[in-house]
C-alpha cells in the first residue's frame, strides 16, 4: 500500500511544478512593471522597489524563477500590501476558521447526502426518488451567494433565530486560542455559552456551503447504489440469507461509493473555493474573506499565495481520494 501512495504522489509532482510555473507566469503575464503589478494598487514606491529587489526582476528570467521557487520552498509569500504583515502569517491565522467551516459543511453534505442517496435508490421510481432527484437538481443550480443571503433573510432578519454574521457575538469574550477552531476552543475553555454561540454562528454558513455538495452526493450515491443493485451478487447474497438492511447498508454501499468518493474529493476543493463568497457574506474570518479582501484591494501577493495554496490542497486531496478508492476496492491496488 505504501508503494501505491508513493506512486500517486510521484504522479502529482508534475502538476505541482506546473502550478508553480503558472503562478510564476501570472506575475509576468502583465505587460506593465511586474514589481508594481505584484505589489498591488495600494503599494508605495518603496514597497515596489523592495519587491523588485527581492524578486530580482532585473535579472534573467530563469534566475527569477529559481528565486521564486526558493521563496516558495521557504513559505515566503511576501507581504500583504493591505495588512502589512507576511502573507504566510495571515494565512496561518485564518486557515483554521476556513477548515472549521469546510469540514462542517462537508460533514453535513456527506452524512445527510449518502443516506438520502441510498434511500432514493431503494425507492427507485417511487415518489421519494422523484422528490430527491428534484432536490438534487435544484441544489446544483443554486448560486451559493444567493442562498447565503436568502438564508440570512429568513433565519436571521425575519425570524431572528440565528445570528447574521461573524464567528462569535462581539460582546462575548473570545476563548484562548488553542486549536484555532473556535468551537473546539470554546469547549476546551469550558464555556458553554460561548460554545452555543459559536455553533449558532456556524450554522448558516455551514448549511449554505453544504447544499451544493448535498445535491451532488445524493445524485452520485443514488446512481452508484442503483448500479450495484443490478449486480448478481446482490441477488445471491439474498439467496444465501443476508439480512436486507445489512445487505444494503454494508455490503452494497461499499461497492457503490466509488464515484461518490471522487465527488467528495472535488467537493473539498470546491468548498474552499465556494467558501470565498460565503465567507465574505457572513463575515467569516477565514481564507475566503481574505481572498475577497485581496481582490478588492488589488493585493496580488495574497492572490498568488492563495492560488498556490488551493492548488496544492486540491492535489493532496486527489491523492487522498485515490487512496480511499484503493481501500474500498482492493482490486484497484493490485492493478499496479
Amino acid at each position: 500500500m505504501l508503494r501505491f501512495v508513493l506512486r500517486r504522489m510521484a504522479l502529482v509532482l508534475p502538476s505541482l511544478l506546473g502550478l508553480l510555473i503558472v503562478t510564476f507566469l501570472l506575475i509576468h503575464a502583465v505587460p506593465s512593471d511586474p514589481a508594481a503589478a505584484l505589489a498591488g494598487d495600494a503599494a508605495t514606491p518603496e514597497q515596489i522597489a523592495r519587491l523588485r529587489q527581492q524578486y530580482g526582476f532585473d535579472s534573467p528570467i530563469h534566475e527569477q524563477f529559481f528565486r521564486y521557487l526558493d521563496k516558495v520552498a521557504h513559505l515566503d509569500f511576501g507581504e500583504s500590501a493591505f495588512s502589512h504583515r507576511p502573507v504566510t502569517l495571515d494565512i496561518a491565522q485564518r486557515l483554521p476558521a476556513t477548515l472549521e467551516l469546510t469540514f462542517c459543511a462537508l460533514a453535513l453534505s456527506v452524512f445527510i447526502g449518502v443516506p438520502l442517496g441510498v434511500l432514493a435508490a431503494l425507492n427507485h421510481n417511487a415518489w421519494p426518488d422523484y422528490v430527491l432527484r428534484a432536490v438534487s437538481v435544484l441544489g446544483i443550480a443554486m448560486a451559493a451567494f444567493w442562498v447565503a443571503i436568502m438564508l440570512q433573510l429568513l433565519f436571521s432578519m425575519q425570524l431572528g433565530w440565528l445570528p447574521l454574521r461573524g464567528e462569535l457575538t462581539s460582546t462575548m469574550a473570545q476563548p484562548p486560542r488553542v486549536t484555532g477552531f473556535l468551537v473546539i476552543d470554546c469547549l476546551i475553555d469550558g464555556r458553554w455559552d460561548a460554545f452555543v454561540d459559536a455553533l449558532q454562528h456556524l450554522a448558516l454558513p455551514a448549511v449554505t456551503l453544504s447544499l451544493g455538495g448535498l445535491a451532488t452526493i445524493v445524485r452520485f450515491t443514488r446512481a452508484g447504489v442503483l448500479d450495484t443493485l443490478q449486480q448478481d451478487f446482490v441477488f445471491y447474497e439474498r439467496a444465501m440469507g443476508y439480512r436486507w438492511l445489512r445487505l444494503v447498508w454494508i455490503f452494497v454501499l461499499r461497492n457503490s461509493v466509488t464515484a461518490t468518493v471522487t465527488q467528495i474529493g472535488l467537493l473539498f476543493g470546491g468548498l474552499i473555493a465556494g467558501g470565498v463568497v460565503v465567507e465574505a457574506i457572513f463575515d467569516w474570518p477565514g481564507i475566503g474573506s481574505y481572498t475577497v479582501q485581496a481582490i478588492l484591494t488589488g493585493d496580488r501577493q495574497v492572490m498568488l499565495a492563495v492560488t498556490l495554496l488551493v492548488g496544492t490542497v486540491y492535489a493532496a486531496v486527489n491523492i487522498l481520494v485515490d487512496l480511499v478508492h484503493g481501500l474500498l476496492d482492493p482490486r484497484l491496488m493490485e492493478q499496479e
Partner: protein
C-alpha cells in the same frame, strides 16, 4: 436527427430543460420588446423606489425605482451572451488543443495534457478571480478569465476521443488510401467527438452563468447600471430585510436558467453515452 429528438422527447426532465433554455433564449433575444419597462435598463425613477410586487411592477422596484421584472428579463441577454462567449472561446481553444494532443504523440502532446491537468487542478473561481484581477477587472477580462479556466474540459474530452479513434483501424485505412492528416482529423475524427463536446458545452453554459453571477456579485464583472443578475443581488443587500423581492427574483432567475441548462445537458448525455449503463 428525428429519432434523436423522439428519444429525447420521452425524457421529461430533459424536455423541461429544453423548454427553459428556449424560453431564456427568447427572453435574451426579444427582451426589450417583452419587458414592460425596457427603459429601466438605465433610467431611474426615484419616486417609485423600493415598491413591493404589484400588478404594475410584478417583481417590485429597486432602490432607483426601476422595475425589477423588466431588469430580470433584460438581464437574460447579458447572462446568455457572457455564457455563449465564454463557452465558445473555451471550445475554440480547447478543441484544437485536444485534437493535436490526441493525434500526435511525443512531447507536444504530453505538454498540452500536463498544462491541462494544472489548470484543472485549480478551482475555477479562484483562478478566474486571480486572472481577472491581474488584467484589471472589467466584463471583458472576466469573460476572458472564465474562458481560460474552462478550455481544459474540452481538451480532455477531445483528447480521449481522438486518441481512441486515431488508434483504430479505419484511420490506418484512410492513410493507406492516401488521405492527408488534415483531412483525417477534420472530416473523420472531429465529427465523432462532437457529441460529448456538445454535452459539455451545454452544462458549461449553465455553469458559466453561475460563475459569472458570482463575479458580478463581487463587482468583477458587469458594472452598474447593467441589469446583471449577480450585480442586482449585490445591490439588494443593504435594503434587506424590507425589500425581500429585490434579492429573491434575480436569484430565482439564475436558479431556473442554470437548472434548465443542467437538465438539458443531462438529457443530452443520456442520449450520447449508451455504453455507460445509466441509472435514471
Amino acid at each position: 436527427m428525428r429519432p434523436i429528438l423522439r428519444k429525447l422527447s420521452r425524457d421529461l426532465p430533459a424536455m423541461l430543460g429544453l423548454a427553459i433554455v428556449v424560453f431564456v433564449l427568447l427572453l435574451a433575444i426579444f427582451g426589450p420588446l417583452i419587458a414592460p419597462y425596457p427603459e429601466d435598463a438605465a433610467s431611474s425613477h426615484l419616486t417609485r423606489r423600493l415598491r413591493p410586487p404589484s400588478a404594475d411592477y410584478l417583481f417590485g422596484t429597486d432602490n432607483l425605482g426601476r422595475d425589477i421584472f423588466s431588469r430580470v428579463i433584460l438581464g437574460a441577454r447579458g447572462a446568455l451572451s457572457i455564457a455563449l462567449t465564454v463557452v465558445t472561446v473555451a471550445m475554440l481553444i480547447g478543441v484544437p488543443l485536444g485534437l493535436v494532443a490526441g493525434f500526435r504523440r511525443g512531447w507536444l502532446s504530453e505538454t498540452i495534457m500536463r498544462v491541462t491537468d494544472v489548470v484543472l487542478a485549480i478551482p475555477q473561481l479562484v483562478l478566474a478571480l486571480a486572472l481577472a484581477q491581474l488584467m484589471s477587472p472589467s466584463l471583458e477580462t472576466a469573460m476572458l478569465a472564465l474562458s481560460l479556466t474552462y478550455w481544459p474540459f474540452f481538451t480532455r474530452i477531445v483528447y480521449a476521443e481522438t486518441r481512441r479513434l486515431s488508434a483504430s483501424m479505419f484511420v490506418d485505412a484512410l492513410r493507406g488510401v492516401g488521405a492527408g492528416t488534415g483531412r483525417i482529423v477534420f472530416l473523420h475524427i472531429l465529427p465523432n467527438s462532437i457529441s460529448p463536446v456538445i454535452v459539455r458545452a451545454t452544462i458549461g453554459l449553465g455553469f458559466t452563468i453561475l460563475v459569472a453571477a458570482v463575479l458580478g456579485f463581487l463587482g468583477m464583472g458587469a458594472t452598474p447600471p447593467a441589469p446583471d443578475w449577480g450585480l442586482t443581488i449585490a445591490e439588494s443587500r443593504v435594503y434587506l430585510p424590507k425589500a425581500w423581492w429585490y434579492v429573491t427574483f434575480p436569484g430565482l432567475a439564475i436558479l431556473i436558467t442554470v437548472m434548465g441548462f443542467n437538465l438539458l445537458g443531462d438529457g443530452l448525455r443520456d442520449l450520447v453515452d449508451p455504453r455507460i449503463r445509466r441509472s435514471r
